[in-house]
Symmetry: C2
């Protein structure tokens, strides 16, 4: 059974192979006319320049942390420097996944625009292929990296806990790069977005996509570095975190007390992830649409098809790999119950996704209420949106609590970990659908800037509009799995730090809980402050260009796009440092002061982080869609309001406030909670 | 030593006596001209009508809960119906304190206006006297009620735990009325405020204080029912909660294992509170200002004088009442360390207050930054304010965590409880200063509506503007003491429910933690939704009056103020029910399902509630002052902006969003966290 581990890297490679094939196919498609090529080159160059700058800074970070990790572990074990190797490989894989995905996206965007001149079907194919390259790179590098390191370390004749501890460095590398990428990308994209939007309004009444707006290229670059590269790194870390968390908790069974099991429970997560890759590829093949067809249906077929197959496959894999029943520490496990835990995870993720869809979708009451409140101005729009965001936390949190308790009933801590993995096993196709969104969005932007016929923009808008439900479910999976993975890592930390009880009635733990719960607030404020400052700088720069460049207003001279790109880049790099370090350093300081306080801190940061993430993401999503609702002409108290009306202006304010909520601070919190747990897990042997 | 308990009710009576004297003095002052009398009558009638309606609804609530409490405890002990008696007395005292304070405030407001025609000194004296009536009623009824019931119950030959358990019904009564009063009053005042403000803008460009604005009376009534009666009930429950929490934790020493102590540690909190009353009265006598003098200095002298005297008095009381040293459960207590715990509480409260002042004061960077962001519109103003609010949670939470740990080090759980009490022992004068604010505010409103010379408004504005620092410190005490009291009650709950360890690594407790942390979000969304709905109704009614009442626009016909008052009243009563019941019922349901889950829930609600309270209060305060800063002409990037400028409009949006934050949902959360703990404490014997 254990020899199956040698097959797993091949499954990872298959994903990379798929992405190479798709990449070369996309490159062969037409990029359209000269203007389109020029615009897309601006966007790609800006995006690559940003990633290069970002990675240069992160390289130093990686080197320093790798050295610190090595020295810190030196006295500890002979494995000291290998944990640094894991960390470096994890960080590089994360960076590579983001980079390759973004390259694909910046190639796919203009080709999607060009294909949209012909029809919906070809455009969908290119946009989705672009997204699937990102998806496959993430899962491919994740599975390949983790399984190869695992194979190498298992052959070193170490005990399994040491193997896993050293392997967790990979997860630390992935998580820390993810946090910087998400925060940096998030600041970049929203500074550019808010800046382009407000600058156009403040100075000229020029829309954000207008080619005369100097911030427009930065805005489009932002979609790529934030929504594509940032999201890729984000899901890479979720995926890796869920796998590693399950591996740690599966390692406890490797003891003579459990004669039925050797490494099966440790290998199982890798195997499930590997099979998930194959099923994601199969699902991707079903994403096709004919002219006049419904792109939503195509995406649903692919994603739900893959997920459905995964449920069946999981059943067979889990019941085959694991023994029918075994005992450990007084708990009776059965393979069937482990399978049920994955079902709990899938059900919880889907439900949270549907609730997200309800609170943020244009068809439902919450968004309608926000739109209605826009009649009395921006203040009531904001109050309504904040209310919707806060309200939307209730059911997801109840579902998370229920699934923690349920998964634990079925299969103890291993159940919680594998429930998280259940949600993420088809990340390959989920991420393809997620990344497809910004590619279509970019394609629309390019159509606008290149002044193509309005039917082209119409088609890209249609592409962009679908996939909301699938994206919402993706978000549900992201939040649900973040909570469960954080708890799995938390339990793994307790195990490795040799903490058996975290007694909340001890003041030191309660103190840790308070401070932990505070961190997401502090972190969010740093991220939002950064967006505000950078957006303001952007607005001032746009103003300067309109004053100083003659003919810009009339469209006869070209804007200095690169200056705006530079502002976003500089601000993002500068401002990502503090929140990133906060997440890394706080657990270390608290952990060395008191490992029990650290345990309290992790519980606090997880609970409050999940809440703040849901609150901010959903408030932002709801404001965004309330604006879109009014733009599509919406009747309030007998009057129909549309673009340019007073309620529309109020809804734009809501949308702008929601931007950093839903694309900077909100999604970063998912990473924050896991990163803090991984840091704790990695330092656990040092503080026990 | 124990006979000292019979003196304590007298200290409570002395406060009530002081307030009667002040009340009759105020009644003798002139109410000004006919128009002023008429306006003030409108306000008083509206306020009394609201309280009457509210109390009618709450009467049913009190009766039902009293019956349920009695039946629930029937099988349990022979004390069953006395807990209902405690509950009823607590509820009545809370209601009475709010009512009497509000009557005083509605008498003081117009007399302050009239006195302001003569000068600043007489106006201050009346406004502060009005506030001190509220303050003294709160502390007088609290100490009188608790100490009388304690004397009665102690003579029933019960063991001390039973006495305290039955007495905790008083705290439950106080807390539940406080929550309804805070939420109802908060909804009332902000619906009227937001409604008056926006209605004036939407329809007529008429300021909110203009006598032609039909919502203006409702707005002024709101200040009284929300900021005076609501705040009074709020502080009544904090005060009572801190005393009861300390009594419960002091009761553990009443055991033959601690021969040095009988009831001293139980009586100590009542005694400290009683002495605090006397010192508050003395402090109040120093609040005087001559024409041209500085009212701020007068308030500071009174409040800090009383607090300083209290520190000295506490030292002597604690070291006299308690034995020098004793042992319990392996911990060595000393009276000196108990005193140090109170100092920790005072220091923490003061520091939190100063931090609050920094984040919300017009002189400091955070508010300046918000004002600066208003140049680029309301969206950036909102983003900046949310950022400031979130950022402002960091230091207070660290201070709270440190004082939990510190007070525990000094005197274990008793230390945490008495630290909270330390902050609240001079509530009498603190509340006088707090209530003085809305009275001055009302006085200004009356001056405006009665069209008095602008110098009168100038003087009332000056009165209103001072006391910010003292009020901020009051807020710091409220938040700090809420956190510590909630933890003290939480420990008391564990004791009575016989829970010795709350192990966070158990999923049921982690699930409880998540759900608990979510409740403040849900609660806030309900409160904000209520304000939004009621404000909208108000705006529509104002529009109807402007359409239908001829001459209203020109000022020749009078507005139908009572219709707006009725809208606010109806909305507040209707909308306070759901959030109020949520706070009461959730702990009962969870508690009967699993007492351990309830423990997790309480920890979650406390941590997240404290954070959300600080976030919302400070964001609201900062927006409010950013607006005021601009109204006083503020230079941004070389241009001076003032009233009516674009940045001013943006800052008004911030202020309006902040209104429900800082006056409805934010302060209610302080009560929420304590109410849930008290409910748990009361049901503890039933679920153990």
């Amino acid at each position: 059974m254990e020899s199956i581990i040698y097959l797993i890297p091949l499954l990872g490679l298959s994903a990379l192979f798929y992405s190479v094939v798709k990449q070369s196919w996309i490159s062969k498609q037409s990029s359209g006319n000269e203007k389109m090529v020029k615009i897309s080159k601006y966007i790609r160059d800006g995006a690559i320049a940003f990633l290069k700058t970002e990675y240069k800074v992160l390289l130093w970070f990686i080197i320093i942390v790798a050295i610190l990790l090595g020295f810190a572990n030196e006295g500890n074990t002979d494995s000291s420097w290998l944990i640094s190797v894991s960390f470096i490989v994890g960080a590089l894989c994360s960076g590579l996944a983001g980079y390759l995905g973004m390259i694909a996206a910046t190639k796919a965007n203009v080709r999607t625009t060009e294909a949209a001149r012909k029809g919906l079907g070809p455009a969908l194919e290119i946009a989705f292929s672009g997204g699937s390259i990102m998806g496959m790179n993430v899962v491919g590098l994740g599975v390949l990296g983790l399984s190869s390191l695992f194979i190498i370390y298992s052959n070193l004749d170490w005990d399994i806990f040491k193997v896993i501890n050293v392997l967790s460095g990979f997860s630390l590398g992935a998580s820390s790069i993810a946090l910087f990428a998400r925060v940096g990308g998030g600041i970049y994209t929203k500074a550019a977005d808010v800046g382009a939007d407000l600058a156009g309004k403040v100075y000229e009444g020029i829309p954000e996509d207008d080619h005369r707006n100097p911030a427009t290229i930065a805005d489009n670059v932002g979609d790529n570095v934030g929504d594509v590269a940032g999201m890729g790194a984000d899901l890479f870390e979720s995926y890796v975190g869920a796998i590693v968390g399950t591996m740690v908790l599966g390692a406890v069974f490797v003891t003579p007390d459990v004669p039925e099991l050797k490494l099966e429970a440790v290998i199982l997560p890798l195997l499930l992830a590997g099979i998930g890759i194959v099923l994601s590829i199969i699902g991707s093949l079903f994403v096709k649409v004919k002219e006049g067809g419904n792109p939503q249906k195509a995406l649903n077929t692919g994603e739900f098809g893959a997920a459905g197959l995964m449920v069946v496959a999981s059943y067979f894999i889990i019941t085959t790999v694991l023994p029918e029943t075994w005992e450990y520490n007084g708990f009776t496990y059965t393979s069937l119950n482990v399978f049920f835990s994955t079902i709990i995870g899938l059900a919880a993720g889907t439900l949270i996704g549907l609730i997200t869809e309800y609170f943020t979708g244009t068809e439902y009451k919450p968004v309608h209420n926000i739109a209605k409140q826009s009649v009395t101005g921006s203040a009531t729009t904001i109050i309504a949106g904040l209310g919707v965001g806060m309200n939307s936390t209730a059911l997801p949190v109840i579902i998370i609590a229920a699934s923690i308790i349920g998964a634990f009933e079925f299969a103890n801590l291993y159940g919680i970990a594998i429930a998280a993995l259940g949600m993420l096993s088809t990340t390959g196709i989920q991420l393809a659908v997620d990344a497809y969104g910004p590619i279509s969005d970019n394609a629309g932007g390019i159509a606008e800037m290149a002044e193509l016929p309005s039917e082209v923009r119409g088609r890209t808008d249609k592409l962009d509009a679908v996939g909301n439900t699938t994206a919402a479910i993706g978000k549900g999976f992201a939040i649900g799995s973040a909570a469960l993975t954080a708890l799995a890592l938390f339990s793994a930390f307790m195990l490795q730090a040799e903490i058996s009880v975290i007694d909340l009635s001890k003041p030191i733990i309660m103190g840790g809980l308070f401070i932990g719960a505070m961190l997401p607030f502090l972190f969010s404020s740093l991220a939002m402050g950064a967006v505000g400052r950078a957006a303001k700088e952007m607005i001032l720069e746009v103003g300067r260009q309109f004053r100083e460049i003659k003919g810009l207003r009339e469209g006869t001279a070209e804007a200095e796009y690169s200056k705006c790109v530079a502002i976003s880049t500089r601000a993002a790099i500068k401002e990502m440092i503090l929140p990133g370090l906060l997440a890394l350093i706080v657990p270390v300081i608290i952990g060395f002061a008191s490992k029990e306080m650290l345990a309290g801190l992790l519980a606090g940061v997880t609970a409050s982080g999940v809440l703040m993430a849901i609150f901010q993401s959903n408030a932002g999503g709801a404001w965004d869609n309330a604006k879109k609702l009014i733009e599509g002409n919406f009747e309030i108290d007998g009057t129909v309001y549309g673009k340019g009306s007073e309620p529309h202006k109020a809804s734009v304010v809501g949308d702008t406030v929601g931007d950093p909520f839903k694309d900077t601070s909100g999604p970063s919190l998912n990473i924050l909670i896991k990163l803090m747990s991984v840091v704790s897990l990695v330092i656990a042997p040092l503080i026990k």
